[in-house]
């Protein structure tokens, strides 16, 4: 399958937006870890903005950035959200509330606990009635999201925004599922090349394991390994470099995605 990338969104530790992040990923400036610059999106109506946790901030920031680059109307794209955990702060809070009386889970806590909360808020903010799916494949969540997005583009001819995000659990869950930092990325994918296209990506699922493409910079590779959504960093690095690149992304031990990136 071949798809075109028309917009990129990026927000992570020391990666504050695509223009600055692109320069770091292309090796033009050094990577310096810094707390992820989380912010509320002005896309959301005020009541929803108040209820938005970290995943919603991540998802909306990167999605909005990608759409601004592409110049497309947010109402016209299907969405694929992928995350290993959803809202991990909220999950911890609900488990704590349920472990002690009285078990008063607030309505907002409950509706934010669904894995597709970020998708729900995005659709409200973007005003889109297009299909939206929310996936999880533990450490392979990014690969799953990319393959699903590519099939939507290839089979349905849809314009798809893929939004991947993850953020740390508080303790005690952090110890059993360590996630290094809040991180999000978005790609707008199309079937046809446009004047905004950055690159073409071929996506192929191949049976069997393969050695994963790593990041050259040790700090960026720690981020790649430390956050499921950041497994997409080698793809962003290829887009940043502007050079044809082959990438291998693991899908557990059983399979991997073979990606070919060709700049437009």
């Amino acid at each position: 399958m071949r798809v075109f990338v028309e917009g990129v969104g990026l927000l992570g530790p020391g990666l504050d937006g695509w223009p600055a992040g692109r320069a770091v990923l292309a090796g033009e400036s050094a990577y310096q870890a810094a707390p992820t610059n989380l912010r509320s999106s002005d896309m959301l109506p005020a009541p929803e903005r108040r209820r938005a946790g970290v995943p919603i901030k991540l998802a909306l920031a990167v999605g909005q950035e990608a759409f601004l680059q592409s110049g497309r109307d947010t109402r016209t794209a299907a969405t694929v959200f992928t995350s290993s955990g959803g809202d991990n702060d909220n999950a911890h809070a609900i488990n704590g509330i349920l472990a002690t009386a009285p078990r008063e889970v607030s309505p907002t806590r409950f509706h934010n606990s669904v894995h597709n909360a970020a998708a729900g808020y995005w659709c409200i903010a973007a005003g889109t009635h297009e299909p939206s799916t929310s996936l999880c494949a533990h450490d392979a969540s990014f690969a799953a999201g990319l393959l699903e997005s590519a099939t939507q583009v290839a089979v349905d001819g849809a314009v798809v925004v893929l939004i991947a995000y993850d953020h740390p659990y508080p303790e005690p869950l952090h110890t059993v599922r360590p996630i290094a930092a809040p991180f999000g990325m978005a790609l707008i994918l199309t079937a046809q090349q446009t004047d905004k296209s950055l690159a073409a990506i071929t996506v192929e699922l191949v049976a069997g394991g393969a050695s994963e493409t790593t990041m050259q910079d040790a700090g960026l590779d720690a981020l790649r390994r430390g956050v499921p959504a950041a497994r997409g960093l080698p793809l962003l690095a290829a887009l940043a470099s502007g050079k044809p690149t082959q990438i291998s992304l693991a899908w557990f031990a059983d399979n991997h995605l073979k990606l070919g990136v060709t700049p437009c």
């Binding site: 955990g85 472990a99 998708a119 533990h138």
Partner: protein
């Protein structure tokens, strides 16, 4: 879309184990709902529980994956010859060419809820027997089923609340159309947990009585648990007239509110219209609609408007949640299989517990069971976050 063959199905829920247990309960009008007796939950409500789970354990080699949700998944895979059917498909296509795309809303979260009661008093740590990836993580269900069936194709979980286990039909259809796999195990599992019972209660959406879909006096859902699996395969050049097919899928987003459906049923209408369009069918081609029909005031009013807009009052409709309770992430696949039972048996399920229809909803809602030729059905599933999906199932047009 190119129709896919539904070559095998399996069910496990409060009505019993296996597809025939559900069919028998529908025919004999026996509901799976009973007063809530689950863990130490102190809510006055009815639930649809699978009693066999308490003493059941997952296969020994997968013991790290043991949790209520995966127990229910395994129990279902053991019904209706499902695991054997997958074994045959494995020989035909190869283990790496069969995808596993499953829906769940809460996965094994009950395991975490209970573990939070056993935190180390000194360190606050989770107990050492807690396995995050194998139980709590949303992917747990697909990882477990993949291993149980010995498959190695692409696998993921869709977790979009109550539409999860029908959304996966769309994922599988695209994966197969794109040549990523030749067959797929789809469906889902959701099991009782405190998060959903107390969470829906906080929203004022849980009924104190057995739920009454589309009743004028409906006042909320009854939560249930269940599992359903479907084996999807590519259709051969010559499809037998008896073959059960996935004919169409339609997906949409409400873009309205996180936990309340669009009041005019906008997203529901789009999902149904897109499903008909994907199947290349007209509204008049549908013989029965299995509604989402949760029995909340807002869901049934909104869905009812959308059905009336698309189908008028000429297609028999019912919600079967009075039987099964609302199985959340497993509701979609269960109801898709019930809709297939309607075709196989030329049987129109009515609606248990519904007494007086809401006069404001202008559709052909059936309370009593009926009979009639059923060739093609539509099944609706709508979830929090405004996630909507409708399926068209049936015989070759």
């Amino acid at each position: 879309m190119q129709p896919l063959v539904i070559s095998h199905t399996a069910l496990a829920n409060s009505l019993g184990l296996g597809v025939s247990a559900t069919m028998d309960a529908l025919r004999s009008r026996r509901s799976g709902l009973a007063p809530c007796a689950f863990e130490d939950v102190d809510l006055e409500t009815y639930i649809a529980k699978v009693e066999a789970l308490d003493d059941f354990r997952v296969r020994a080699d997968l013991s790290a994956w043991d949790c209520r949700n995966n127990r229910l998944a395994q129990l279902c895979l053991e019904q209706d010859g499902f695991a054997q059917a997958v074994e045959l498909a494995k020989r035909k296509y190869g283990a790496s060419r069969i995808g596993v795309f499953l829906g769940t809303s809460t996965s094994g979260i009950l395991q975490t809820e209970l573990a939070y009661r056993r935190l180390d008093p000194d360190t606050g740590a989770l107990p050492p027997d807690f396995h995050y990836a194998e139980t709590q993580n949303s992917y747990s269900l697909a990882g477990f089923v993949l291993r149980y069936l010995g498959l190695s194709g692409p696998s993921f979980v869709v977790s979009s609340a109550c539409s999860s286990s029908v959304k996966v039909f769309a994922n599988a259809q695209r994966m197969m159309a794109a040549g990523v796999c030749d067959a797929a195990v789809v469906g889902g599992t959701d099991s009782l947990c405190l998060s959903t019972l107390y969470g829906f209660n906080s929203l004022g959406l849980v009924s104190h009585q057995p739920c009454r879909p589309y009743d004028a006096e409906r006042d909320g859902i009854s939560i249930g648990e269940g599992a359903g699996f479907v084996l999807l395969e590519k259709a051969p050049a010559q499809v037998s007239p008896d073959a059960m097919l996935l004919l169409g899928v339609g997906e949409s987003s409400d873009a309205y509110h996180m936990s309340t459906p669009h009041p005019e049923g906008l997203g529901a209408r789009l999902a149904m219209q897109r499903a008909l369009g994907s199947a290349g069918l007209q509204a008049s081609d549908i013989d029965y609609i299995n509604l989402h029909g949760t029995a909340t005031k807002s869901n049934d009013a909104s869905e009812g408007k959308a059905v009336a807009d698309v189908f008028g009052a000429s297609v028999p409709c019912s919600s079967t949640k009075g039987w099964t309770g609302h199985q959340l992430g497993a509701a979609g696949v269960t109801e898709a299989i019930i809709a297939m039972l309607a075709i196989e048996h030329n049987f129109l399920p009515g609606s248990i517990n519904t007494r007086q229809l809401d006069p404001a909803i202008a559709i052909d809602y059936r309370i009593e069971n009926g009979a009639g030729k059923v060739n093609r059905v539509l099944s609706n599933s709508f979830g929090f976050g405004g996630s909507n999906c409708s399926l068209v199932l049936g015989r070759k047009a």
